[in-house]
Amino acid sequence: MTVLLAARGLTRRFGDHIALHPTDLDVTAGEAVALVGPNGAGKSTLLAVLAGSLPPSGGRVERAPGTSVGWAPQRAGHYGRLTPRENVELFARLAGEPEPEARATALLDALGLRDDARPSGVLSVGQRQRLNLALALLGDPDVLLADEPTAALDEQARERFWELAAERRAAGGAVVFATQAGDEPARRATRVLALEEGRLA
């Protein structure tokens, strides 16, 4: 099985507080890894460090050659004064997508986002989360890292997200997600990892 993404002795401190103790993890092609645990267990920290959004205090993240990573943080990250389309197009251009307009149209459609002139800052929480996921799916990443991706979504959007995640896995990718939803690990994950006080159980 191909290891797409790996954590080797990964740690993260915030001052004196150790949010993530030395952690080893392999993410292989085709799997869906669920991270579960109480608030403050270190799920978001682990995902952010794996995504490269947060530098590790120790250890390293290894990616298989040519592996791309998409990152959907828990708090939606996009520009509030730009429309959803402008956000997706900007990120697509920054990522070097060959056809940013077409890609934006496809992602907006796929996640049920309305293509209007309203700035993203006035969207509902659920709409912003859809935009957040659209940005994470740009470039068809091999590994999708998502922090509570379905928390603010309605049932229909939730199903749509899992369909898109399944497409990634079917194409040889993987999904790692943190969740608090009771049945989601059992229904959606091929492997469940429990985190407690910054340690993998």
Binding site: A48, A51, G52, S53, L54, P55, W71, P73, R75, A76, G77, H78, Y79, G80, R81, L82, E86, L90, F91, R93, L94, A95, G96, P119, L135, A136, G139
Partner: protein
């Protein structure tokens, strides 16, 4: 440079959609201009000076045979200060409360000293301790100088009447006594009717020489009274409010604060929007875009300010300077200074650049030196900003 350009375009789009921020960016130069104008107006106001007349100045004073009118003399002398006549008590109160900045007291005996022309009459000046006291003393010195000039004119006029009497003869008064003077002209004419003996001829020669010498007395007296005369030519060049220095300060402050606020605010907004860390661009590229944002906005607004100055200079008919030909030089400075951003904004170098760009006859050497400084500081600040941003934002 593709990613920084994309991020810059995004920042400019967001700026355009932020009406409050845009209003602040456009309004700020106007506020600076208004403040500069207010300071200029304050600098042009006449300080209030209390005049305490203990001597009881009459409307006019007889000096010799001439009448010296005091009120018009005070008006002419007081062009640089606003003179208000007050009682001693009131003047003291206003000085203590800061409503007047000085008291000029005309003590008892001033008028009799003025009339007698035996000793100089004295004025007393009292100021409050303030940062402006030096200026007040100079203003009052100028006032006394102008008053002295008026009086010198009266004194010289009076003295010349005696000289005139000696030259042409006639009736005159001195210390209250009337007398009749033959005069050199009439003496010469009388001697011309006498037999021209060697003695008469000698006396006539002396009379002619004396007449010639006395004819020069008026100019000589005036020259003695004013060994060095200050002649004011008509006003020329730009007023203080449009000077190169004011423009340079206005541009530097605008560029400095705008660049700092916009770049820092925009960087903070990236963090607030939670996009740092998920942007497919490096921190260096993000900072490059912020530096470019500062440069672009500073260049646009600074150039608008320079053009506005130019329009005012043209429409108000202000002479001096080259409002249009130097705009490209100013624009270069705006880009460099705007790019150098931040808390360590190089005010001194920006000021020198703008001053030289606006008015130096040969600005090139200064421009080159200051441009090198600005570029070097930009590079150093960008490096520091990257380190700081990494610590603060990630």
């Amino acid at each position: 440079m593709r990613r920084p350009a994309l991020l810059l375009r995004k920042d400019l789009r967001i700026l355009r959609r932020s009406p409050l921020l845009l209003a602040a960016a456009v309004g700020y130069p106007l506020v600076v201009a208004v403040l500069v104008a207010l300071v200029g107006a304050y600098a042009g106001t006449k300080p209030r000076v209390a005049l305490v007349d203990e001597a009881g100045l009459p409307p006019s004073v007889q000096i010799g045979n001439r009448v010296f009118r005091i009120k018009p003399a005070l008006d002419r002398a007081g062009r640089e200060v606003h003179i208000v006549r007050l009682t001693n008590r009131e003047a003291r109160h206003q000085l203590d409360t800061g409503r007047v900045i000085a008291i000029v007291r005309i003590p008892h005996g001033f008028v009799s000293d003025l009339r007698a022309m035996v000793r100089s009459p004295r004025l007393e000046l009292e100021t409050s301790p303030s940062p402006f006291s030096g200026r007040i003393v100079r203003e009052v010195q100028a006032f006394v100088y102008a008053l002295n000039q008026e009086l010198q004119g009266a004194y010289i006029g009076s003295n010349l009447e005696y000289v005139n009497l000696l030259q042409h003869g006639g009736k005159g008064t001195f210390l209250g006594r009337e007398f009749d003077v033959l005069g050199l002209g009439r003496t010469d004419r009388l001697l011309a009717t006498e037999p021209q003996t060697p003695t008469v001829i000698k006396v006539r020669r002396f009379v002619r020489a004396a007449r010639l010498a006395l004819a020069q007395t008026g100019d000589a007296l005036r020259a003695t009274a004013n060994p060095v005369a200050l002649v004011r030519v008509p006003e020329h060049g730009r007023t203080w409010a449009f000077s190169a220095q004011v423009q340079a300060y206005a541009l530097t402050l605008t560029v400095g604060l705008l660049a700092l606020l916009l770049a820092a605010g925009s960087l903070a907004a990236e963090r607030d929007e939670n996009v740092i860390g998920r942007l497919p661009s490096s921190l260096g590229e993000l900072l490059t875009a912020k530096v470019a944002l500062g440069a672009v906005v500073a260049a646009v607004l600074g150039t608008a300010m320079a053009l506005a100055f130019g329009v005012v200079v043209e429409t108000a008919g202000v002479r001096g300077g080259e409002p249009w030909s130097r705009v490209p030089l100013v624009a270069i400075g705006l880009v460099l200074a705007g790019a150098s951003l931040g808390a360590l904004f190089p005010v001194e170098h920006a000021l020198r650049f703008f001053s030289a760009a606006l008015y130096d006859v040969s600005p090139w050497r200064t421009l080159a030196v200051e441009a090198v400084w600005l570029v070097a500081i930009t590079a150093a600040l960008s490096g520091l900003a990257r380190l700081a941003a990494r610590r603060l934002l990630v």
